[in-house]
Symmetry: C5
Subunit: 303 residues, 5 copies
């Protein structure tokens, strides 16, 4: 979810939408109830007093915070790299389109390559989301190209081949000088790099044991915390446990969402919107409106 | 706000302007008053003693500091990347202008492309600030180009197309050799990358839940802190609470400002000044003064 | 091991596969038993009470966490850089293949270079794993080239020379214009950079003393921890020691695994799968299926 | 100041020169005296006992350390980026000179461009230091070029235009092939990027509120610390306060020095030495000694 | 020192070689003895009880850890950047050699440039180590070139000029097309960048005050620590002090070693081995063995 303007500080204390709260509500409830029970029983479980105090929690707590911070930094770095790669797709597509419109001796052919680039963008979106874009593709490609692309294992890469074929045809027809063709290729290489980068992020999450170790640490810490605080702060224990658990669980859940920025979670990248933007910016150069509909906002979330 | 020379250390302790204090004054006052009330009532609320001590605050405090630090690093990285992108606009525009003046066989045409580049810079500034630059643009573009650019959804990208059209005209008139045109294109690709990068930062803030979680954490911490300190340090509680709250609220507010470096906050990038600089540096090469006025300093803030 | 979908939070608490647990089981058992003995003997060893409490552990614990975090960040950065380099191999190979198919006047020759690129990928995999790929190579190279490559000290670099020889032949036969050949070279330089980068990561681990200092610190800390906790939390000591030791040992072991991402550990990069993917994506462009078998998943681990 | 060989560990404990101590001596003295007075009066000010203990200081201390660390990392990153940009100037100037000497058909003209590059370097140094290099410039430029450069608002950028004009003249006289001219331009673009990067660092410090918040935090912490330690460690208070204050003030002062690496502080970059080096390396290629004097070492500081 | 395979966890606890222990043995012994004396005298020095406890150490300890961590990250970053630059030398030399062998019409001339590149690598190694390679150079250069290079102030840069002269000769003899010469230049620019980067790291250490402040902090902390722990843990004090001092001194010493990765310390980069590798990989392409001897391993250290 993308929220652009900064809300009032009071509003931000109580807002629910956009918060990660719904996702961690069950766990948070269980932990809170558990800490109420522990407090009510004075830390005794089956008439057996659990001899914990705050000492181990101050040893473990910050360690946990440091690793959770590592996890969040890494997840955010993946999220931001993914966003930057889409930015690169926008920039390299625009540059290709500009060159096609101005540096070839036959600018009418530029429309074709702009449609190929739109198809590439939508194919990238679908490849990352594991969906099939058969209908949508026909707005940009003819029947033969559509089939060729849809039959491929790596459809976005195949769409780039279409662009290169267009360029080769221009080169062989001497509509573009070889050094200018080399300048085109720089942009196509950038698209190829962005594609491989997106595939890398989509296919290769953070090593699973990191998630497991931090997940376990967070939950064990939160479940044991009531015993550690009970002697020190008495009946305020559930309040503090709930507060600490909210912070840790929320940060862990957010890290897990951002780790795969191409997913369907509310805070993932709005790929439909981004590819609509790229399409719009490319078609604008030849005076055409976008051929796909502007993605709407569902439940405050831009897709 | 940009302050270049480092002031005296005593002055820095008491200076108000440039400080983020005005922005957080209301919250800080509320928290301070609350902590005075709590201290006066000896931690009792409605004759009910809140049993908190420093233990949970030492557990939570550093965790909070670590995440606030993550937030600040991320915001600052966005701010600095935005500044670097504007630096790239300066550098790539200058390189284009230099090439236009020296490597074409018809250097008189270079003035045209320099005006296009100025227009691009001002359009980028206005696009990032969501304002319309109709009057200003006419100093650089003729009527037709102005209309074409202003009608576009992505005006800065359209201005780059003007530059490419200029280059294409030079290429087709054989005023520039194809390999040199490819060298021009490297700079235009850089401008395209900088444009897409600025759009990315402007459109895609840090995921909202980060802001929410950290915001809530900071405020809850500050509001509960008086109960935690009261037993330990007695009547000094409000002083320390005010000090801690100042640090945390100020850092949080500063992070929120820098997160969107293209905004109107005092510490955001001085886009008007930066684009005036780029314009000046470009026009200087053809012996002309800048066509827009030097932005003044309002309330110590360079815009 | 690559796990793509995020499992349920309860499942993640108890899952064993994918966990790093098996690797640290012996040490963890020893430490747990030791702490049980210490607790049972009330901290006395040979009737001699060890006068430790939590003070030194709070001094050392976080220091340790900070350095362990440094180690993990560094190991992960190596892992991710290695993955990115393989992404670069994919992207640069595809770009070379696209150019060979479209920008030369004799596209039939492109098949040859695609086979060379497949050979390069598999040779890179084998060079990083210190294995010899004699049989596999014959699927892509003729007898003479196979022998030439296998006799080399740096086989992957020799395979790149084959690609360059192919390009030189095209250039001298005027099937490709010199500026286009220069564009080919950009991709080959990228492959050369990726190769040298992989060699760097494979040959140059994190300086050994870092591993030693952190390893010793972790183990000494865990073995002494029972004495530090005993007075504070009594019979809960073994539980907490086991929890802390699990976290620290697991993170240290994971850091050691990721440090060399080209090894055979479960969390290392699935090089067989990655090179099969690159081969598949390249051969797809000339309408052929991959010539090597798809690597299977052994014990939940993608190789 | 640049110290290359690592001194003995004992020497490093007591060395004064190169230390940041002189800069923070007044503040450190005041804080030390204050803490002695506080200790002597047993924490009473005007017969009023200040009820502070170590609790708030352990809450605030680490927070402070984390933000001071953020500040130092950021300042050092600016310092190192500035140094890297000067490295880029060296590298790109050398590459331009090498090309001028070998790839043009009229290598005698190369001397001219080498002199232009020397002028560019010295102009960059003077622009960053806000000084005027009229006399020095005449060693490299003729009267007309000197005046043209000195009249400019952005002199270093104007010097790059001279280099481009030289290249344009070579191109139009067909002494250099267009693709080779494009290769020259790559280096000139690098110089342009380095120039814009240096301007960015010189003009855009770390947002001022960061400096203010951290500065205030450091000083308030140090002034209140005696009250916090008095009950715990008695007459040792001034020793510890002095030690803590030394660390925090020194790191803060060093961060402030490195933040603007182009200044006149002892630890700033030795711009005079660096530009002398670049000049020497360029003139060496045409068998000439440097035309400016080697900068001396004043008070152990290399300028 | 480079250790590739990960040893057994028990072995790593006791191994001495490769450890940084020898370097810090004197200091560590002094601190240990001092702490034994302090413990024996019950913290009294000259019948004067030093009133320290753990409070100031918990305030200072983590601060110290944070700054030590900053120092280690920075030193490691320098080490790794240096290694990456040597990787770039390998990659760019290979690419130049491949091009020379395949893209010129007179491949026999390629041997000459390969010898120049070997000379460049060895000169870089010697320049960074401040030694003179007169004898070794004659294996790659004729008498005239050797003298020219050895008389230079910046020998490695002069060797690059030789490569460029070779390229210029090919270009003027029309053995290489201008666009292909431009592609050569890309690699030579990379070599030039790597050279300037290595010079930067060799000449510009981390600002000296950082080293001083952290050094002093570490030593003062370790010398005062016994007083702080004595009351809390009694006769265990020397054990803990020794453990803490080992960790801090070792990390500080390692940071100091890695800071200058081109030195002669055991953990510095094995420059002799790396340049031997580059030479081997280049000569292999023309079917020749390396002309220098493989560097041996002395005292477990690869030079």
């Amino acid at each position: 979810m993308i929220v652009r303007s900064r809300p009032h500080w009071l509003y931000m204390l109580f807002v629910l939408r956009g918060s990660i709260l719904p996702k961690i509500a069950p766990q948070l409830t269980i932990i809170s109830l558990f800490s109420i029970v522990v407090t009510a029983l004075h830390g005794q479980i089956l008439h057996f007093k659990v001899s914990l105090n705050f000492v181990p929690f101050s040893l473990i707590g910050l360690t946990l915070a440091i690793f959770l911070s590592f996890r969040n930094s890494t997840s955010y770095a993946r999220y931001w790299e993914a966003r930057t790669l889409w930015s690169q797709v926008l920039s390299a597509s625009r540059s290709t389109a500009r060159k096609a419109l101005t540096l070839t001796t036959h600018p009418a052919a530029a429309k074709q390559v702009i449609l190929y680039l739109c198809a590439f963008t939508h194919l990238l979106k679908h490849q990352l989301g594991n969906t099939r874009p058969s209908k949508l593709l026909r707005r940009f490609l003819d029947e033969k190209d559509t089939r060729r692309v849809l039959n491929a294992q790596y459809p976005a890469s195949m769409a780039l081949l279409l662009v290169d074929e267009w360029l080769g045809a221009r080169l062989h027809a001497q509509e573009v000088a070889p050094p200018v063709a080399a300048a085109f290729e720089r942009n196509l290489d950038e698209l190829s790099t962005a594609l491989a980068g997106c595939e890398r992020i989509a296919e290769n999450p953070i090593p699973f044991p990191y998630s497991i170790i931090i997940h376990r640490c967070v939950y064990l810490y939160c479940f044991w915390l009531p015993f550690g605080l009970l002697d020190a702060i008495g009946f305020m224990t559930p309040v503090i446990v709930c507060f600490v658990a909210y912070t840790f669980l929320a940060l862990e859940a957010l890290g897990a969402e951002l780790e795969n920025p191409f997913g369907q979670d509310p805070n993932d990248l709005p790929l439909r919107f981004l590819s609509w933007q790229i399409e719009g910016s490319l078609l604008e150069m030849i005076g055409e409106p976008p051929r796909t509909d502007k993605p709407g906002v569902e439940k405050h979330i831009l897709r």
